[in-house]
Symmetry: C2
Subunit: 246 residues, 2 copies
Amino acid sequence: MTDKDRPDALRHVPNERAADVLFECFADMINRGVLRDGDPLPPEREIVQTYGVSRTVVREAVLALSNKGLVEARPRFRPVVRKPSYDTAMATVGNVVGRLLQEPGGIYNLFETRIMIEVALARQAAQQPNAKGIEQMRVALAANGAAIEDNVVFYQTDMAFHSALYAMPGNPVLPAIYRAYVSWLEPQWSLMPRQSDRNRGNFHAHTAIFNAIVAQDPDVAEQAVRTHLDAAWQQVRSTFKEEDMP
Amino acid sequence: MTDKDRPDALRHVPNERAADVLFECFADMINRGVLRDGDPLPPEREIVQTYGVSRTVVREAVLALSNKGLVEARPRFRPVVRKPSYDTAMATVGNVVGRLLQEPGGIYNLFETRIMIEVALARQAAQQPNAKGIEQMRVALAANGAAIEDNVVFYQTDMAFHSALYAMPGNPVLPAIYRAYVSWLEPQWSLMPRQSDRNRGNFHAHTAIFNAIVAQDPDVAEQAVRTHLDAAWQQVRSTFKEEDMP
DNA sequence: CACCTAGTTTGGTATGACCAAAACAGGTTA
DNA sequence: TAACCTGTTTTGGTCATACCAAACTAGGTG
């Protein structure tokens, strides 16, 4: 296979790995919609023919696509295109973040940013009330209150309530951030014993947050969020006897 | 090469790719400090001998390490270990985020989260003043004021001032977030024409933020940040005639 | 129509080879 | 001694081929 036989995209690219060029090629196709979400990638041997590169290069390019979350590759299955979203962006860092959380204080560093963001969200929700968003919080809160006795359902509705807070501004980045928080902190949270009295306390905290937002009082909303999340942190901390509190 | 000859780590791992196992192996070594920051990875052919796998597998594992930012691999150089940090985490998402920013409204979605965070930081700085942090802001502000006539230096000191805000809480996640913002939004900002009158306005905005923090007035600090960043967004918007404002 | 089966496709791995650039080791020269 | 040149070795990047096991497919069978 000589250089002349190749498609333009892979010709004369000095000091750049062929696999990287091929990666960019497919990334662009995914980005421009030529390859749509859910489509399978062509078979490796077909890509070899099309682009005039070895299977080694194809595999490295596909692996890079997979590592960056642009395709989803299960062993022995054709890779499936996943249109990039803020969720996939968060997922790609999951590995690194997971290791950072193991360092002393790592978990609290992350949780502190969550407190900061949820405080900001609550203040903003109180200052710029949004009928649809408040309604979503209302139903989430009601479902949360109805599930106090059921630890599993309470956990789900708890997340749904917080999720409604992140959805308030209508910015797609924020819900993705929340889902990332949940997936990263979930290993700690899920091991924490759930009890209906704790559920009751958390529900009351949610109610206080919601009421402050409805009352359009950002200061009270901020304090309610801080109280709630600080308490949640204390629960986690007491469960694991971690010594990495600030 | 039979299964018996291999190290335990790579034996009997059903339905899991050998490359993934090898990746985890090296990721753990980096995480536990066996491979320290700056160390070069062993040569591929040596890894082949040590772990009893083919070079294909080794290359895929190294590529995965590279894609996740655990090692830095330049063409024809030995990969160098990079201890995972929140910065590398941000860098790995850079590719995906870059594509998301090209979508309509993408840039503002990201910038809105920056406004939200800097508002929260300013409020927190005003509420929980920190002598060392305030001193750092003071020197950053002074340097900023001295550079009004020099667009290049003003840009640098501008970033240093905001960076000081992110450094205030002492949480290593926050400065990494700021650096990520800068690197992602830099393509837009750097093309924007810099003028000394704009510099003067920005410096006054920085001064207002700083004074409000020193005065321990979170509401004024919040408003100062909003005014500053909204103005900055208007500058960007007018420069590029983007139609994706909220 | 459901179910089983044999052949085909396809991703995962192993092996060996070659190239170009980097790293290295000597020897040469100023 | 130190700087420079040079040939060898090392090492990552690429190619080609082969084999395996699981997934897929087509065809036949009940």
